[in-house]
């Protein structure tokens, strides 16, 4: 019984080690980039036409921090202007979902379609960021992500917050 258990544990350990070896080799470039702090654009490679993703993909706090710090991504605030004025992620631009009909065409005209966009609103119980993300995908942008933790997670993590603007 004891020998049986030992064999079981050994074999499981072998499986995990083999998986780790394959996983690290398979994702070597990705892991290397992440290790060196290069914000690997987490995206599925930008796809064109009908293959484009219909749902904006979620990003975690750290990824948003990395991508916004290097200006690689444009951070978009989907909340209303009042909330934006009171406090927003430093460097974010305001694009309230409520005004998307009016603002989207202008935004789409002056922003490259392959620009990395990160949309956020008021955290996990707020769906405006996802809705706006879908609209951006529909408008032809290929790399749209949602920061689901939103402004609250960012602020509580002590990251740079700006006030004012519109």
């Amino acid at each position: 019984m004891k020998a049986d258990l030992r064999r079981l544990v050994t074999e499981i350990a072998v499986i995990v080690l083999v998986a780790a070896a394959i996983g690290v080799v398979w994702n070597f470039r990705l892991l290397r980039d992440v290790w060196h702090g290069n914000p690997t654009a987490p995206p599925p490679a930008p796809r064109q036409g009908t293959g484009a993703p219909q749902e904006p993909l979620p990003l975690g706090l750290m990824q948003v921090k990395e991508l916004s710090a290097t200006k690689e991504a444009l951070v978009i605030d989907a909340r209303d202007r009042d909330a934006f004025r009171k406090g927003h992620i430093s460097g974010a631009v305001s694009l309230p979902l409520g005004e998307a009909d009016r603002l989207l065409p202008g935004f789409a005209a002056k922003t490259p379609k392959d620009k990395l966009l990160i949309v956020y609103c008021n955290g996990y119980d707020c769906h405006d960021s996802k809705t706006l993300g879908r609209r951006l995908l529909a408008a032809g942008f290929t790399q749209v992500f949602v920061f689901e933790g939103g402004f609250p997670e960012w602020r509580d993590a002590g990251y740079p917050v700006a006030q004012g603007g519109s």
């Binding site: 049986d4 079981l8 074999e11 499981i12 499986i15 995990v16 083999v18 998986a19 780790a20 394959i22 996983g23 690290v24 398979w26 994702n27 990705l30 892991l31 992440v34 290790w35 690997t40 654009a41 987490p42 995206p43 599925p44 749902e55 993909l57 979620p58 990003l59 975690g60 706090l61 750290m62 990824q63 990395e66 996990y124 119980d125 689901e148």
Partner: protein, 137 residues
């Protein structure tokens, strides 16, 4: 072994293996996206999310392949039990911390709630446990 039990074991074993293969391949296809799902659990750090995203899917794929082929069945079944128990613990922790996240169980856009995912994982624990018990020593 009773013939019914034998056939049931085979069906469960292959179904469970296929499910693991499927879940693993989906994640291998898009490791960075899966890293996003891992990050949502807020348990491991930035590099950790990518490391988990790089390795975990391969554990699932190997486990699934062993179950489907029937080679080292008991080991694979035991591993499936352990994996699912870990998943359940993680899901329970998200509920306890008030995180409302997609479980990421089957790749991006898996909208399964934590409750459903926990139930599903318990079903898989039961199936894997059955396969383990019936498996050859």
């Amino acid at each position: 072994m009773h013939p019914v039990a034998r056939h049931l074991t085979a069906v469960l074993r292959v179904a469970l293996g296929a499910l693991f293969l499927y879940a693993g391949v989906l994640k291998i296809a898009n490791p960075a996206a899966f890293a996003g799902s891992v990050a949502n659990y807020r348990i491991v750090g930035y590099f950790g999310t990518y490391l988990v995203a790089a390795i975990l899917p391969w554990v699932e794929v190997i486990c699934g392949a062993l179950l489907v082929t029937g080679w080292r069945t008991r080991t694979a079944a035991a591993l499936a039990v352990v994996l699912n128990l870990v998943f359940i613990a993680l899901l329970v922790s998200t509920v306890a911390r008030g995180l409302d996240i997609d479980c990421g169980c089957f790749g991006q856009g898996d909208k399964t709630s934590a409750g459903t995912a926990i139930f599903r994982d318990f079903m898989m624990v039961a199936a894997a446990g059955f396969v383990y018990r019936q498996g050859k020593r």
